[in-house]
Amino acid sequence: MSAPPSPDEGLAAAELAAKYGLTVSGARPSLFEYVRQLWDRRHFILAFSRAKLTAQYSQAKLGQLWQVATPLLNAAVYFFIFGLILNADKGMPKEVYIPFLVTGVFVFTFTQSSVMAGVRAISGNLGLVRALHFPRASLPISFALQQLQQLLFSMIVLFAVALIFGSYPALSWLLIVPVLLLQFFFNTGLAMIMARAGAKTPDLAQLMPFVMRTWMYASGVMFSIPIMLEDKPDWIATVLQWNPAAIYMDLMRFALIDGYGSSNLPDHVWAAALGWALLFVVGGFVYFWKAEERYGRG
């Protein structure tokens, strides 16, 4: 054997490791330490999300113009189907309904794409997970951040739509910032939960589009929940209105659209928005961290 004889002869591996202060490779750090490591990687998280965003359209002729064109086309399609064909605008004048619909589509898409990116955050980046060492939560957080930046592009379209339909910048527009922030926290938490689930069961990536579509139709993206469910028992509308997607959508509409007053919001809506955000971002983070050492097993 090549190892020269030493006073350590005969020590068991664990004792030898303890003597020289070696630590178990790939062990899960404490929650506090994990947060610190994550903070150290903040530049990587940001750079990764921006790189993904840029790479997305780099092969297209129109390039980054698609960042704005994609949400615009999306809104146009939904307006064509729900506004013109199905008349889902019940009781809302056109100048409220169109911004109402567009806001709904964009805000929900923000959550939807964060979930879809979250499911693949680990399972779709196994190469990265197996090659480099970094706190794995960087990935779902980075993907949620990418979606936030994507949404900021959509906001340009949204502002234009609001202006065209007679909602002008007012103080209430400032509320957009806290709403976006809270929704971003909610999405990040959800993305971390989905990332852990998707790492264990990659099949979720096939299943989630259906779950998300159900959620979308149940959250009143293209119709007002209380009006649509008038003849149904009250509690159904209440439950639907309190679901996080509906809460963030309604708050955004309230902030942005002149004709969409506080009478459309459920009670304690800000508390609910904050509660959902905190519950998911903290819960999701702890849930994700608990499996930290197991990501990458395949």
Partner: protein
């Protein structure tokens, strides 16, 4: 402890009865049909539809500071898997790996994106390896010069997908080799680029070796093992077949492979 002699070897990596098992979904029966998948779900076995690949079986060794260790063995003998386990990137099924600090694999390929310019990839790759922005800024020119990407025009501002495979490999190596490591693991990185670049990268690896505490090198090239390593671990079918000085092990290995 009693007084420590200065020349007593200090362990940096300890592998203790290490087992690594890969799980592969949907490969159990070899039948990929939908009905086969369904019956796997319905039949509640111990682990449905999952085939296990036992890649590393009970490997133990102690590596010391200042050693350069070569890992040899035929394809699929578990060399790369063992490196990943030491780096803490693959969880162990049984047994443990103890390390001094954070061992790192030399390689950033997975973090780089073909649609981005070489410039942005240098930054992204550096950040992914855990370098700070200042460190990257400091080394940026060095990385670009080393890769030689700009020798034939201003390629660093073009997307990486426009590079030839050799150019891309050179840039990847240059980024990966820009960081100093305590325990460094190199997985057949020597064979990239043209002859000129190979020479340059071998030199860089020797430099890294000097700075690093311990180096692991996986290679099928017995010459580069002989040049860089003073100890060799020979893996075969996931088991440690031999562990000793380079010459002894390589002699046996060459006899085994019939060279």
């Amino acid at each position: 402890m009693a007084e420590q002699k200065t020349d007593a070897p200090i362990p940096t990596v300890i592998a203790d009865e290490l087992h690594i098992v890969y799980r592969v979904n949907g490969a159990k029966s070899g039948k990929g049909s939908a009905t086969a998948a369904l019956s796997r779900i319905v039949k509640r076995g111990e682990e449905r539809g999952v085939r296990k690949v036992h890649a590393v079986k009970g490997v133990s060794f102690v590596a010391y500071r200042g050693e350069a260790i070569g890992l040899i063995g035929s394809n699929g003998s578990g060399k790369s898997t063992l490196l990943r386990a030491i780096a803490g990137l693959l969880p162990a099924e049984k047994g443990k790996v103890y390390t001094d600090g954070q061992p790192s694999l030399l390689g950033v390929n997975a973090a780089l994106m073909n649609d981005l310019t070489g410039e942005r990839n240098v930054i992204l790759g550096g950040l992914a390896m855990g370098m700070s922005r200042e460190q990257i800024k400091e080394r940026y020119q060095e990385i670009v010069d080393f890769s030689g990407i700009n020798e034939k025009g201003d390629f660093i501002t073009l997307p990486m997908r426009t590079y030839s495979s050799g150019m891309a490999a050179r840039l990847r190596f240059s980024i990966a080799a820009a960081k100093d490591h305590d325990v460094l693991m190199i997985d057949e990185a020597l064979a990239t680029g043209d002859r000129k670049f190979q020479k340059r990268s071998e030199e860089r690896i020797r430099e890294l070796r000097k700075e690093a505490g311990t180096v692991f090198l996986v290679s099928h090239n017995n010459k580069s093992i002989r040049d860089t390593c003073d100890r060799v671990l020979w893996l075969e079918r996931g088991e440690l077949r031999m562990d000793g000085p380079t010459d002894e092990v390589l002699k046996e290995y060459e006899k085994f492979t019939g060279k």
